[in-house]
Each structure stands twice: as C-alpha cells, then as structure tokens.
Symmetry: D2
Subunit: 359 residues, 4 copies
C-alpha cells in the first residue's frame, strides 16, 4: 500500500491504486467506473484469459493487463483489489489480496460458503483492512431512497417485503437460480431492514422443470420479527423481465419497479388500519374493526446515477477514513447465511430453517 | 321443477325459473345476469335482510323478494337456485335446494369444508341434479383462451404457473386471505391444467402483520407432476392491485395480466431449451448446454364479454342437457382439498401437505 | 312542471319526474343513473323504436315506454327531459321540451349547429328553465380534480394542453371524427380553463385515408391567450385506445391518463423555469438562462365514481336551486363555436379561424 | 485517403482511419462506437475546447486530440471525418473535409439550411465521396423492422403516421424545438415511407409559453399522397418522456413505443375496412358500410443493438463499396426541406407550405 496516509478528507486524498481481477461479465463495469473515478488510479486488469482482458480494456487503452495475480499483489502502487471472478474463487483471491495488505472489494456473493466468508471477514479485521461487498443495487438512487424512508420511519413498522426478480436468464452451470439471483434481493433486504428486524428463518421451494440439474425457479419465504414476512421470487424461465419489490408498512407502503425509469419508487399513503380494541380478549380482537386509508401517492424525485459509481466512491471513502463501508463483510455474511439456509430448505422440500442470528 | 322436459336444444328450451339467494356483494351480479339471459326467468331474490333485497332489485323492478328460503323452495316455477351467501351457509342452503329438487349454482368456495362439499356432490349425483360452482374467472375470455392454449399443446409441457392476486382488500371477519382470494387462482389452475397434471402437495406460508387474527398475506407452493411447480401470492395489504398469472411451458410461456384490458394474454415464443444429452449420466446432464429462443410475442384477440354471462349460460346448458358443467362440483371439491391442505400447512409453519389425489 | 316548489334544500326536495328520450347508445346509461338516483323519479323512456325501448328497460321493469314525444311532454308529472338522440334532432326535441316547461339535459353536442344551440339557450333563459349539457367527462373525479388544481393555481399559469383521444372507433355515418370525439376534449378544456384563458382561434387538419367520406383522423390546434396553446388529436383508426391529456403550467404539469385506473392523474413538480432577465431587450431575452426543476410527482387519491351519477345530481341541484349547472348551455355553445370554426378550418386546409369570443 | 483501394468485401478491408470533430453531447458516442468497430481506426478527436476532448477520451486513452481541424484534414491516415458539432458549423467543417478528400458522416440535421445542405451533397457527388447523415434512429432494430414491414406491404397502403417525441428537454439557445427534435421524426418518416409516398406539404403550429424566444412546443402536419397524413408532436416542456410513433395502414397498424424495451413494436391486425361500394356515386359512398377487423397483435422479436453501431457499419460499407448509404445526403436534404417549410409555416401562423418534391 506504499506510503498511503489515512485521511478523512477524501476529496484531497491521493488517488488509490486499484487492480481489477476478472474480465468476464462484471469486470468491465468495474473497470469503467474505476477509470472514471478521480479517487482511483487503475493499475491492472488481471484475468487468466489474456485475450479477454485485452478486449475488455480495448485497443486504445494504456491500462496494463496480466494473467498473474502475483504480479498484481506484488505491485506496491496497488492499494485496492476488486474481485469479479466466479464465486468459487472469491475466497482464494480475496484472501491472497488481504494477506498482501490490499483493501478488497468482492463481487456478490462474498464467498461460496458462509465459512469461507467468515474467514475473509476475520482476515480483514485482523489486518485493519477494508472488506467491502459489491452489493450494487444498494447504491442505486432507488434503494438508497427506500432505506431512507424505512429507517426514517416514513413507512411505520414493517409488515411485509415482496421481491420479484425474474427474466429469461442464463442457466448457470455452477449455481442454481437462488445463488445466482437471490443475493440481489437479500442484500437489498439486508440494507433496508432496521437492525431489530433481521430475518429469523427461511423456507425455500424450487423447481427444475427443464431438467437442468439445478433449481431454475425458486421461492424464498423469510420469517421476520413481529409477524412480518419477506418473500423472494427468482426465476430464470420467465419470458418477461420483472424487477419489483414491495415494502409494506403500518403507515405507508412502497413499490419499487426498477424497470419503470420515470417512476421507480411509488409511496402509497394507502393501507389498512386495525382499529385498536384495547383490553380485548384474543377472540374479540378478531372482530375488531378495520379502517382503510386511501391517500395520495408520491413518487419521489430520484437522480439517474449509475449504482457502481456509488460503490466505487463508498469503497474509496471507507479506505480513506477507515470506517466500515455501508455494505461490509458482515452484510455479505448475513446474505450467505440466508443462502445456505435456503439451500438446506430446498433439499428438505421447504422445511423452515432457522438463521444464525448474526449482528 | 314442475313439468320441465329435458332437451339438448337449449336455444328453443323454455326459460328456466331461477331464484338467487343472497343479496350481498355478489348476489346483485347474478341477479343482473339472470335478468339479461333469455335462458332464465328470475323468480325470487331471497335474503334475510329484506331492505338489502329491495335495494338490490331497485325500485322499478317486478322481481319478488323474500326473507324465507322455504317460500322459494316450495315454488314449483323455480327450477334452479343460485347461492351467493357466505361460505359457511352454502352447505345448508344448497342441500335444502337439492332436496327440493332444484339445480344449484354455488358461489366459490363450494362449501366451508371439504366434507360438506363432498356431501353436496353426492346429494346432487344421487338426485341427477346439476351442481355447478361459480368459478367466475374460468369463464373470462382470457382464461378460456389460456385453457385452449394449454390443452391444445401450444405451450408444450407445463413447467410453472405463477399467480399473483394482490390488492388493498377487505380484511374479512370470517376467513383469511387464503380462503378469500386463493379460490380464484386455484379454480383457474384446476380449469387449465390437463388431467395428468393435477397438484400433488401444497405448502403455505402466511403472515398477519397487522394483528387481524388471520393471515393477510399468504404464499402457496403447489408441487405438480414431472418437476413442475405452481405458486400463488395473495395479499390484502398491497396498495396496488396486481392480477397476473404466468404459465410457463416447454414450447411457449404466456402471461395473463387481467388489468391490461387491451392485451390481457401475451404468448411468448421465447424460452430456454435444454440441448438433449442422450444417454448422459445424471452428473453429465448438469453440463448439458442450454439454448435460448427469442421469438415473437402474440397477443391473441379476445372479445370483451362478462364472465358471469358465460357462467349463467353454462348453467342453463348443463341443466338442459344433463351434462356436467365445465366447473362442476368435483372442480369445487378439488379446490377445497387444496384450501384445507394449505390451511393445515399454514398451521404447521409451511410443512408440505399431500393432497387427496381426486379424479 | 306541476306544483313543484323551488327550494335550495335538495336533500329534502321531492323527487323530480324525469323522462329519457332516446334508447340508443347513451340512453340506457342515463336510464340506469336516473333510476339509481333518489332525486329523480323516472317516468318514461321515449324512442321511435318501441322494441329498442323495451330492451333498454328490460323485461322486469315497471318503467313505461312510448314512441310519442307528445305523450311525455303532456305528462304533468314529468319535470325534466333528458335528450339522448342523434345531434341533428337535439334542437327539435329540446325546444319542444322547453316549450312544454320542462328542464332539459342534452347529450353532447348541445345541437347540430351553433345557431340552433343559441336558440335553445335563449329559450331556456326566457322561461327560467335549466338547460344543461351532458358533458359527462367533466364530472369524472379526475376532471373535477384537474379543474380544482388549475383554478386553485396549483399549476401556475397555463402553458399548454395536449389531448389525445384515439381508438378503433365506429366510423359514424352522420358526423366526422371531429364532431364525434372532440366535443369530449373541448368540453373538458372549457371546464378546466379559467375565464381569462378561453381559446381565441382554431386550426384543424384532417384526413380521410379510408375514403369514408368524412375525416377519420383530425388534429385541432387552439390559440390560447398569452402564448399558450391547446391541441387535440382525435382518431377513429387507431388500433389502440389512448385517452391522455397533459396540462402544462408554469409551476406544475399534470398528466391525466384515463386508462390507468389506479393513477389517473399525476402532478409533476417538474419543469422549466426561465430565469428572469429584467429589462432585457428582446434579443437578449433569447439568451436568458433556463432552470430545470425536478421534484416529486404526486398522484392525488381519487374516488372511483361514475361520472353520470354526478351529471344527474348536478342536474337535480340546478333545477332545485335555480342556479346554472356547471356545464350549462353556454358551455355547450362555446364548444359548438369551436367545432364550427374547426370544420371551416378543415374545409380551408388548416386555415386559422378566429372564435366568437363568447362569455 | 492514401492508397486506399475500393473493395466490396468489407470484412477483409483494412480499417478506415477516422477522426471525430466535436466532443460535446454526441461526439463521445461516436468516439465509443468507432473505437469498438473493427472497421475503423480512430485517429483524432478534434474540438476547440481541448479539456473537453481530454475528458471525452479519458485519461487512459491513446487517442490523440487536437483543437485544429487543419491538422486532422492534413493527416493522410484519416479517410473519414465524423462531424458532431452544432448545426451552424456543419457546412463549413463538412465542406472542408470533402475538399480534403475525406468521406463525411454528419450529425443531424445535415446543415443549418437547405441551401448549405445542397452544396454539401453536390460537393460529395463531384468528388465521388460518401456523404452520410447520422440519422441514428433509422438504425435501431425497431425502425429497421418498421421499414421492412412498410416496404414489404405488411401494413398495406399507408393511412397515417403519428409521432410524439416529448420530454423535459434542454431549451436550446440556437434552435427551436422543431429543429432540435423533429429531425428525428422526419428522418424516420423519410426512411420508412415508400418513394411514392413522400410528403407534399407541411403546416406547423407552435408556442413559446415560457417566453424563451423560440417555440418550445410544436405540431407538424404533413400532407401525404392519396389522402394520407403524418403528424409530429415535439415538446420540450413535458414532464414525462413519450416517444411513440403509430403507423396506420390499410391492412395493419403498428405502434412503436421506444420506451417499452420488451415490446417496442406492436403490429395490430385490427382496423376498419370500407366495404367497397362499386360504381357508387360519391354521395352514396358516404353510406358505404364499414367493417371492423379485430385480430391478434404480434410483437416481433427484435435484437437489442446500439443504433450507432449500425450507423458506423453502414458508413464503412458505403465507403468500401462506393454505394450510397441508407441515409445519404439526399435523405438529409429532404429533412431540411421539411424543416425549412415548417419554419415558414410557423411564421405564417400555420399556413400550409408546399415542399420541393425532391427525388
């Protein structure tokens, strides 16, 4: 990491040297955003496939490419490493980077298993290095606004979250639809839920109707505290793309439709109120009256901004100030916890599997 | 039933005398459709609340009202009785009507329990009377078209069905959201699925985040033969109305959006094909290649026609010809079977409950 | 009108006797709403085609039908006449009704020509009778809300109105698309525009590409005061239905999409502000800066209510209190003025035709 | 142009040296596409503002920048020049490039006036150089498909075209909304219309309600042969973005909604047929019957492909083969002809202005 001095003033900090590992699907996006960010100086693109790296940087670029991770990690001008390789290799690469004293940004999911993820978190903590998960969606203007509304109490108590992420997707060879798509929904859920509201258990149902050898359609049900519920529908076989999340609260309910660019977030002052029947016996409560609110809908103005730009800036800020990034290793771990429990539930035909109850 | 002579020629048949029991939410719709149908002569509207009956018929009407079911059943000019009362009273009223020799049309669900439903089916069969379920949605032009496409093989083998029916709904005092809304989805599923494709088991997850005393949000997962899956999301707390069903097949996938009046049904020639790896071991199949089809979408022309009109006509045709109506008592029973199993699953936190395997 | 005593207290007023003339497309809707209204007692349905009348009232009705207008007008229990016949007959029927001392509600357009319309207005005024235009759309919750927002200054100064009303429509035998559809848009425009903002002139362009003998596609451009503009697109040949009106103002702009039932009106706090360059020469103003506002969007809660119910209630209120109805004969005249000018413009290939400048 | 040898085999042709002039709004898009195209070798980015050029190429690029057009034109390795500067400078820059023997791609509109555009066309023709207009939208998969459907006769005879392009747009300092936005619609119209169907005349209505010094809202009506009509609505003041074009024909009508990425083009087998009344007098024809077709809708599969990629490839193909590009200088001239006539119409309050009738 060379002579890098920690400072809370990011603006005047020297640019951080960064290397991107992985030139596949996501790597080029990281590449582009690191190049555009004044906070970073892109040093390397590393991939086992040299030709793929060259294609990714393009023929007019001065960015260096390499097939050897060692070359990257030995380079003292590299302060940070961004890992965009398949999940199975995250642990190996990220661990090597941490051991070389580099701050690390890892593609979702943090690792292939909870245990591997935990090792990364520990390794980073022991060395005082930043370990950040690239939970990209959390940095969209829409999700940042949703978090603000939920944590600011605008929605009231959380009642339900329903998330649908379906599309004619690439049937992956190494992971099922759960591990491919649900990390998005689970990382968003983790991001917007208040601390006291973390999921307690999960049940998962899936199907492989095309005989692909792994679930292509899956439904996750998460038990939340206080009778609330979250549900995730992920599907590789849908001919149409849907990316909609509904967050229901006691005061307001919001709908996030990521494919409606001019009205992504709609906040409805509409809902059901239970007329309180104080000191009623349980049986009597069932007869308590219900009131309906039918108020206005507000679609808050959101700027159009690439989420990955926010990821890159948050990474720089965390490195400079030493604080935890908004989506740190622990967030990644909590997502892995749910994914592993959901996989077990799938195996046991939908049995409810309790979660670890991480901080 | 008086001197009514059975005939297969509905067109020239004398109009059937009909009485509607129940002047609440649905009764007036039956009333209007029986009045508009040349196949019926509306004799009575019967409700315990006389004022409600009078409001339902309106002050310019010659239709007679009564609070006494006996008066209706004794009337020889009444051939048919349509029951639109709360589910808990279906068994009592429908049984009395059958015992009085009347053909019966019953609002969904057929009865409050599977056992009661079975008694009605038996009673009708013993007497050679028509027992029809008013599974209204099955008679919409959209669902009739979907059935035609599925049974005609246009979609290929069925892979998945995903049904969402959510809205800011009336929190019912007597039933949960499952019994209130899911009968619609389950009756549609029953209507469009080929015989060999009936659900084998069900798991249900629900939540009552507002403390209403019963589930206000529920998710049903149905195991279908051959690795297929069906899923139903019903919700009283959604601020927006969604009524969308996706039916995925090996050849085509269709989306039915009931709130998109100019394009309710969209058939996508788009999907994932598994490249067949003949004689591959199970492990090898996982590496089989996948192909994507990206063809046109066709939205078939559908006439705009009130579904209840079709219900009323099918009822008349079944009575005149003696054949089973499209949505007969057995269809009603199969829906009740799933509803009861789903309720048990809800009780046992999502446990998978096998179905009876009815014909 | 018999012994009817004027009173401002509608609630306790005796029901008004009403007759509907015309059992075609629109008449049955009037019929249904008068029957449902406690303020009216429906006496007659009058149509030259008796069978059509009988079908309209239905076989269970006590409402009397007749083919003779005279019989209706002689009936002292008839206080009001609602005319839903072709436009060419409005003048004759409405005039006869006024001469018989009846209050009159006329279907749009008020008459076939401006001159005929003016005679009706005069006749009603001379006799102190109510003459109301059934500009139905003005009584939708959406248009009432738009009027409230415009007149309440929420939109600021009016900049532009753009109205699209297209559909695969019935090619009429007697009128072109302008006279068939534009009365809706023009009556709405008349309803929501402040008095000082009435159109000054109109230009119309049309086409008859199918050789129907009259314009099937038409575009109207209205010059409004202060540089504002209104535009109407009506089209019988569109395969899809669009009914969208945009009202742009200096402070806010709203979009009314009548086919989006859960979000008919959207008010955008979004726009362009000219940075004021005081005391600039005209040429310099062109270089004045522009600012963009990008605020929230609010979709006000609207009740779902049949517009014709509001028409009927307004008619009753006007008769009881003697005040002008919201859409009185003058409103109908102003619409006729524009229609006639637009027809002349069509004849002269789009020439701008000034309007009469009615109060 | 050095020793470049013309060849019809683009695939094996040497890459063409290209320079981009203008690093403002559109230049960077050209930059990116030329860089990604194997058919081109990007030599220069030229802009009077050096810093803007440097920002556009980015700090990791080997692409040279210059502020001197002369330096670009003297460079023998530059075969082609792409001009993305303000319209007022097109003539000067493109003419200089042509005189230096370079093939030229010009941003829309071709030039600031028809006369200037004609000089460019002549200059290119005299020198045997390619002059291409970057009518980008014509190279979208949607417009290419629409052209195929229209020219292939799938729509039948053309009846009407209705195009809406509205948005909260940048109020330009140098041009009104007509010259800013309508070139898109007019170039698309020019691209899809059969030769025999070129517009004959135009009328334009506009408004400047914000006092910007130029029209911010404008409506264009184009007279087409055989009673057909085209209409364009462009608007800088709309809070919502709409980009919809309807093309109505005697057999089918299509709707292109550019903001509906999963269903951009919908082809409706729905319409109005005039029942032919052979040998009828003109008056009788008015009573001819009309039939309605209500068939399926088909949304053809379209690949997602950046239009500018197609522009760049067409430019290369035209240069290599010497043939006219699909959107050549004459296409640009025809658009300029309409724009100038429309401006004159605006001046004369909507008067119909005939077009030149270019080939």
């Amino acid at each position: 990491m060379g002579g890098y001095t920690d400072t809370s003033d990011t603006a005047t900090s020297p640019a951080l040297g960064v290397a991107v590992v992985g030139a596949g699907y996501w790597g080029p996006n990281l590449l582009r955003n690191f190049q555009a960010s004044p906070g970073f100086r892109l040093r390397w693109l590393c991939d086992l496939d040299e030709a793929r790296s060259r294609r990714a940087v393009g023929e007019y670029s001065t960015v260096r490419t390499t097939t050897r991770l060692g070359q990257v990690l030995e380079d003292e001008s590299v302060d940070c490493v961004a890992v965009a390789t398949p999940a199975g290799t995250h642990h190996h690469i990220a661990m090597a980077a941490l051991e070389a004293g580099k701050h690390v940004l890892v593609e979702k999911p943090l690792a292939a298993t909870f245990e591997q993820g935990r090792e990364l978190v520990r390794a980073a903590e022991e060395r005082g290095l930043v370990l950040m998960c690239d939970h990209t969606y959390c940095y969209t203007p829409a999700v940042l606004k949703i978090r603000e509304l939920v944590l600011g109490g605008v929605l009231g108590d959380l009642h339900f979250v329903d998330s649908v992420r379906i599309n004619l997707g690439l049937v992956q060879r190494d992971v099922d639809v759960l591990w491919d798509l649900a990390p998005h929904d689970l990382s968003i859920l983790d991001f917007i839920l208040p601390d006291g509201c973390r999921p307690l258990a999960v049940a998962a149902h899936g199907a492989d109707p095309i005989g692909a050898g792994r679930a292509c359609v899956a439904y996750l049900t998460l038990t939340l505290p206080d009778g609330a519920i979250a549900h995730v529908h992920v599907n590789w076989l849908s001919p149409t793309k849907v990316r909609t999340t509904m967050v229901g609260g006691s005061k307001r309910t919001l709908v996030w439709d990521d494919l409606h660019p001019t009205q992504r977030v709609s906040v409805f002052d509409r809902g059901v109120d239970l007329v309180p029947g104080e000191e009623l016996a349980d049986d009597e409560r069932r007869n308590a009256l219900v009131q309906y609110r039918s108020g206005d809908m507000v679609a808050p103005a959101l700027q159009e901004r690439e989420a990955l730009r926010g990821v890159v800036e948050e990474f720089a800020a965390a490195v400079h100030t030493g604080r935890s990034p908004l989506t740190d290793g622990h967030a990644g771990l909590r997502v892995l916890d749910i994914l592993e429990a959901a996989s077990r539930s799938l195996e046991f035909r939908g049995a409810v599997v309790p979660l670890r109850g991480l901080r």
